[in-house]
Symmetry: C2
Subunit: 124 residues, 2 copies
């Protein structure tokens, strides 16, 4: 859920963080990318998300104008989601986060045995 204090801030950066600064939204936006995707697909592709939370996040993304929702009046129902112009414009930011992370992350090295974890600086 959105943080009301953040979204009502006088500071536009704070408001921006209020809308996209949580853990699920960047993941959802990244998974959708440039395609059109159905609710069930998102639920399958995104690990560890519950339908309830997915519904909530999608609703907020739509309200904030990052997402377009297309509901077909069929049975069983079909609903498709795709990024709006605003949502698409956010993708390059996610790409730069990926690059930043690849360059600077200290990643755990998983050895054959699960209990042995070593760390190293990931090289480009």
């Amino acid at each position: 859920m959105r943080d009301e204090k953040f979204c009502n801030s006088h500071c536009s950066f704070t408001r921006a963080i209020g809308t996209i600064g949580n853990k699920w939204k960047p993941i959802i936006i990244n998974v959708i990318g440039t395609r059109t995707i159905r609710f069930g697909q998102l639920d399958n592709i995104i690990p560890h998300i519950s339908r309830k939370v997915l519904t909530e996040q999608l609703k907020e993304l739509e309200e904030d104008g990052l997402l377009e929702r297309l509901a077909y009046k069929e049975l069983p129902p079909r609903v498709e989601y795709k990024l709006s112009e605003k949502g698409l414009a956010f993708l390059p930011i996610l790409e730069s986060i990926k690059e930043w992370n690849c360059k600077y992350e200290v990643v755990p090295i998983m050895e054959n045995s699960d209990h042995l974890i070593k760390y190293q600086l990931k090289s480009r």
Copy 2:
């Protein structure tokens, strides 16, 4: 607090979101910017954050290598924070979020009565 599922993900993007994808960290990184700043200053400048949460977030940022902490052995104590190379490299991403937000945000209507001002200086 960090999300363990995210930080242990096989997907590096998910891990990245696990470290910086919450509401406080982008704010803190943005406030620090290129300067060296003391704990008390951060506590004064950032609205609505408690010392406890600020301490927690700073500790995690340090553990994740975005932040350098300099504690002087004085009394009363003095502790200075500044961004590391990794943290500084994150600043352009925050700038692009600002640009993205300015371009696409539907700005909330701020009413001009005193009792509706959402932000005020902390009295401490």
